[in-house]
Amino acid sequence: MSPAPDPERVVPLAEIELAVQEAEVPVVVAPRDAGHWAPNVTRLTVDADRAAVGFNVAGKRVTGPQQGFGRLWQRTYTTQLGSVVGPQRLISEWKAHFGEFWTKGNRFHGLLITPGEVAPIAVNTGAGLKLSTGVLVLYADDESFTFMTPEGHMFAGWITFSAFADAAGTAARIQVLIRPNDPIFELGWPVMKRMEDRFWMATLRNVAAHFGVLDAAVEERTVLVDKHRIWHNARNVWHNAGIRSVLHLLTAPVRAVRRRRLG
């Protein structure tokens, strides 16, 4: 039988550390990437200030590449900025001025590029119609950030913006992994593909110009990852942001009258 412990004894630190080690208490350490991911959400919410521009986002679920309908594409746009900026500062500036790098007529209504942020966007379709949809900031760290699209967006998938060092200095990259979300958007893919090219190439050139690199060359690479369509996702057309944007526009007078009546 061991002697009863002396309550007056001052226990040395080494003895305490040994006791803790022997107790084998499991220590749960959060993975390094834990703070970079968005919290899990079932349905997206848009704050009251941006509700008017987020009508096609609020209440929607996010869609990964396997929730879309059309063929799965990986498209990569890369530009070189040389030694004018390092990857971390490039991403920091890109996050801070994200919407400013978009081309005229397109609006990004995000406040901060932080994990979990929901940003409504308005895309100029070129046919006199603004397509309203949005993105969720799925992931963000010092050298990259990724958006995930909601139901109704033209594409189901992810868009990753990153910067990295290579032999030529610092490169900025946009990589999308997407399926057209429904049969209508799949039919429009040949046109949308060209619009995507123009949009993201111009964005990268604007990012480069921000750092004083003018007329930067942008390299584009397209890989067809899966040529099969996912037919059971054809019903995604119900959420089609193009159709809903048109309906929203047509019903604007009704909403105006209702608002006036409510005072």
Binding site: A30, P31, R32, D33, A34, H36, W37, A38, P39, N40, V41, V62, T63, G64, P65, Q66, Q67, L72, Q74, L138, Y139, D141, S144, F145, T146, M148, W158, T160, S162, F164, Q175, L177, V225, D226, K227, H228
Partner: protein, 121 residues
């Protein structure tokens, strides 16, 4: 080319090809993951299991790589399942909606049991 901190080993467990990943699954893991998948399907297994038990980092480009593998498997008519995900990575699979179309198991043994039961059902 970026150096990869991801490693992969391929083995067989009762007809299941197991790709055991370790380290960091990020953009630099493309070659490792692609080669491991190609080695895993060489003997026409019942299914391919991606085991994440020894993975301690996944970023969004890593998740995109996993989707590329799944899409490739799907186009080849192969089933892919996953095991060994910590609570954190299960949550990531939920957020990204990967868990909607990939069966998750606690470990390699339960995955092998699950795939065999599924095949015989």
């Amino acid at each position: 080319m970026m150096a990869s901190n991801c490693e992969a080993s391929v083995s067989q467990v009762r007809g299941l090809a197991v790709v055991a990943l370790s380290g960091e699954v990020d953009g630099s893991a493309a070659t490792v993951l692609g080669s491991a998948y190609d080695a895993a399907v060489r003997d026409e297994p019942t299914a391919v299991l991606l085991d994440f038990a020894a993975v301690d980092y996944i970023n969004s480009t890593g998740i995109a790589l996993i989707v590329s593998v799944l899409a490739k498997a799907r186009s080849e008519g192969r089933r892919v399942v996953a095991s060994g995900l910590s609570e954190h990575y299960r949550r990531i699979f939920d957020i990204t909606r990967l868990s909607d179309f990939i069966q998750l198991y606690a470990d390699v043994e339960s995955a092998a049991n699950g795939v065999i039961e599924g095949a015989s059902a």
